[in-house]
């Protein structure tokens, strides 16, 4: 009986070893999917990398962090961009399917920016005020020092990592039902640039044509605008990491690409696009 067990054990180990090498995938192109907040950054990385590495093919699409993580789990993408960290339930799915917890790479920092119309006299808001505004408890600008006008809310779709992060860290309740959901921070910025009484949130890289609202932790704290210094020092209260998730530790072309992103050259692009480097 013992001999039989040993034989079966040996056979199993040999089978696993052989299959491991026989089926090692040879990546042809790297697919990147996920966070809409990170689309511009990811496209910039891909574009510059492909120029300097002619053999590399990198395809970037958005869809939201949740969509990207789902794609990573179902094998539809090689790299998932996410503007929030992976949930335990998502990690469990990855574990069940690939016997792996995935690899998390912090590739940039972002300060979630509060966008206002350029004519809006409100200059700063506390986290509490933002929570009340986006949960619907505060519905008129005059309650936060603005004109006597209804507040128009613009936010992201629930597949967005920014939506989840902002909900978990700022709103801490359900979003108001009247909050208009838009596909991407660019759409939020565009809507606010045309709406005098609009307010929205999104990645710092998308601020053209609108006003940045300074944010303070509470009524007694000073208010800060998201910039390199305040985000890096932790003074800006709605700062977060931007992540890349992989199923397994990267090898070959994928490793080279990730290493490049984390290099000085890749991190320089982070700043150029409007986010904040991690290195």
């Amino acid at each position: 009986m013992k001999k039989l067990k040993t034989k079966i054990g040996m056979a199993a180990i040999i089978m696993i070893a052989l299959l491991s090498f026989a089926f090692m995938p040879a990546p042809e192109k790297i697919t990147v999917k996920g966070s809409d907040t990170m689309v511009i950054l990811a496209q910039k990385w891909a574009e510059v990398y492909m120029k300097s590495h002619p053999g590399a093919v990198i395809q970037v699409t958005g869809g939201g962090s949740g969509t990207g993580i789902a794609a990573l789990i179902n094998g539809a993408t090689d790299i998932c961009n996410a503007s929030r960290s992976m949930k335990q339930s998502e990690m469990d799915k990855l574990k069940d399917r690939y016997a792996s917890l995935g690899v998390e790479i912090r590739c940039a920092k972002d300060g979630i920016t509060i966008f206002l119309h350029e004519s809006n006299p409100v200059k700063e808001l506390s986290l509490k005020q933002l929570s009340n505004i986006f949960s619907g408890k505060t519905s008129n600008w005059k309650e936060v020092g603005g004109p006597d006008q209804d507040i128009k809310l613009y936010g992201r779709e629930n597949s967005s990592g920014t939506y989840v992060f902002f909900k978990d860290h700022v709103v801490k309740a359900d979003y108001a039902a009247r909050c208009q959901t838009l596909p991407g921070t660019a759409a939020v910025v565009n809507a606010i640039s045309k709406d005098k009484f609009g307010i929205g949130y999104g990645g710092a890289a998308y601020a053209a044509g609108v006003k940045h609202c300074a944010v303070k932790k509470d009524d007694k704290s000073p208010a800060y605008i998201a910039d390199t210094e305040t985000v890096k020092s932790g003074q800006y209260p709605i700062a977060r990491y931007l992540y890349m998730y992989l199923r397994n530790r990267p090898t070959g072309e994928m490793k080279a690409y990730i290493d490049w992103i984390l290099s000085a050259e890749g991190q320089k692009l982070v700043a150029e696009v409007g986010y904040f480097p991690v290195r």
Binding site: I8, I16, L19, P25, N74, R97, A99, S100, N158, N248
Partner: protein
């Protein structure tokens, strides 16, 4: 001079006329423009109304869509071909539907979920999950479950659609039949700490097959038949091992009792348990388990998972009584006519038994690329650690068959005397013998899965039991998930 005067006169006449005509023309144009403006205003108004209508429709559609997004529908079908080697069953080649499940989840608001999951395997409908889950919305740490759901144990909670081999380990199938139980559960899982605590109370009889003297299951509908509730607790913690993987460890315990259904209780070695207060009629179901899962990133995912469980598992007995009245018989002896009506009372009992058991399983799983997965599992289950292999069929407890007949005569008359006898015959048999339920199993399962995509996988598995009963099973399974 006259010419100049004429020209001036003409100009004086023409200019006002021109001005007048231009004015008139301008007035006409302004009037036309106003008309156009009015038309445009009207058109814009119409368009605005139309846009408002479309906006309203979109808003209504969005509201309806938002309601629909609160409903989640998922499920899977497992169709398989089984080949039994050295089969004792009538057919050793079987096509079957192993699992056909649809899971409905409705989350009306953040923090509340209703889950319903029936299984539609051919010819029957079985309710697997049906529970309400309330999640704490503030700390995002606590959740309360009530209804029928998986018992908190690693292999039980690991979905059959994700499992790397066709079936759960024998020890799990034995102590957690049907995986689910009716009860309530509190889960504590702080979002920032990889710790999970589960505390649950169950009826305790879910999925158990408890036979009566005729072999019929007295527990077909899972209606609890004792007042004792079973407690289960599980704690797990995951350590991150940097970029190379993670180690999850945990323990779970089960503290329960079940009605013995009889007056006699045996120890695991088939000796009479004098320590059990026989009038209490509750037997123990107590065990603990220790689990570990190591995930290691070596040329793709590699996992080593295992669990060891040991304790005491009580099996209820039965005590069946039957009474038969025989037809009257008569006998004439001397001057006495005896009329006899025999009542036979039979008590057929099987004692309850508390068996000490132990079992474990170890999985080695390797993922190769996105599509291939190989797995080896060794699982061991000894349902009765107190009975050695050579004692199976020999170890027994037998109170023997006791037969007592009691006569009951009444006499009437003198010549002849009529004697009426209504005797009662009492037969009591009470025994239990070791057998198939005490056999130790060691099983190796080899499996290969190919994922066509996230929804479809095909699995080829070979199960090799290495014990007294040798019946290898080859499984070819196709799973479609949505």
């Amino acid at each position: 001079m006259k010419k100049v005067t004429k020209i001036l006169l003409i100009l004086v006449l023409i200019i006002p006329m021109l001005v007048l005509s231009t004015g008139i023309l301008a007035q006409v144009q302004v009037s036309d423009l106003k008309k156009e403006q009015d038309t445009l205003k009207e058109n814009v108004g119409t368009l605005r109304d139309k846009i408002s209508g479309v906006e309203e429709r979109i808003s209504n559609a969005e509201a309806d869509l938002a309601k629909l997004t609160k409903i989640k529908l998922s499920g899977y079908i497992q169709a398989q071909f089984l080949h039994y080697e050295a089969s004792s069953v009538s057919s050793d080649n079987i096509f079957m539907l192993r699992r056909v499940r649809v899971k409905f989840q409705y989350a009306p608001t953040d923090g509340v979920a209703f889950v319903l999951q029936p299984d539609f395997t051919f010819g029957k409908f079985v309710l697997k999950d049906a529970y309400v889950q309330l999640n704490d919305r503030w700390l995002k740490t606590f959740s309360l479950w009530a209804g029928r759901f998986n018992r908190p144990a690693y292999e039980v909670e690991y979905s059959s659609s994700s499992r790397e081999v066709p079936e759960r380990s024998r020890v799990i199938r034995a102590i957690y039949p049907d995986e689910r139980a009716i009860g309530a559960k509190l889960e504590i899982a702080p979002p920032s700490v990889p710790l999970k605590i589960q505390l649950a109370l169950f009826n305790g009889n879910d999925g158990l097959t408890i036979p009566d003297a005729s072999g019929n299951n007295i527990n077909p509908e899972n209606n609890d038949f004792d007042n004792h509730k079973d407690f289960m607790g599980r704690v797990t913690y995951t350590f991150k091992l940097g970029q190379i993987g993670a180690l999850g460890i945990g323990a779970h315990g089960y503290y329960g009792k079940i009605k013995a259904n009889t007056m006699d209780v045996l120890n695991a070695d088939y000796t009479y348990n004098k320590a059990v207060d026989n009038t209490g009629k509750l037997i123990r179901k107590n065990w603990v388990g220790f689990e570990g899962q190591l995930y290691f990133d070596f040329l793709g995912g590699l996992a080593l998972k295992g669990e060891y469980i040991f304790g005491v598992n009580g099996t209820p007995g039965y005590s069946a009584k039957a009474s038969v009245v025989s037809p009257m018989t008569s006998a004439l002896k001397n001057d006495t006519l005896t009329l006899t009506t025999l009542t036979t009372n039979t008590t057929n009992s099987r004692p309850a038994i508390e068996k000490s058991f132990s079992g474990y399983y170890i999985y080695l799983i390797k993922n190769i690329g996105k599509r291939h997965q190989v797995a080896v599992r060794y699982d061991y289950y000894d349902p009765n650690t107190k009975v050695a292999s050579d004692q199976i069929g020999i170890a027994k407890w037998d109170a023997g068959v006791k037969t007592v007949t009691t006569n009951n005569f009444t006499y009437v008359g003198t010549d002849p005397v009529i004697a009426t006898n209504t005797p009662t015959k009492t037969i009591v048999s009470n025994s239990l013998k070791s057998g198939a339920g005490d056999i130790k199993y060691q099983t190796i399962t080899l499996a290969y899965s190919y994922y066509f995509d996230d929804n479809i996988k095909i699995m080829l598995a070979y199960e090799i039991p290495m014990n007294l009963i040798k019946q290898n099973i080859l499984t070819l399974r196709l799973q479609a998930k949505f």
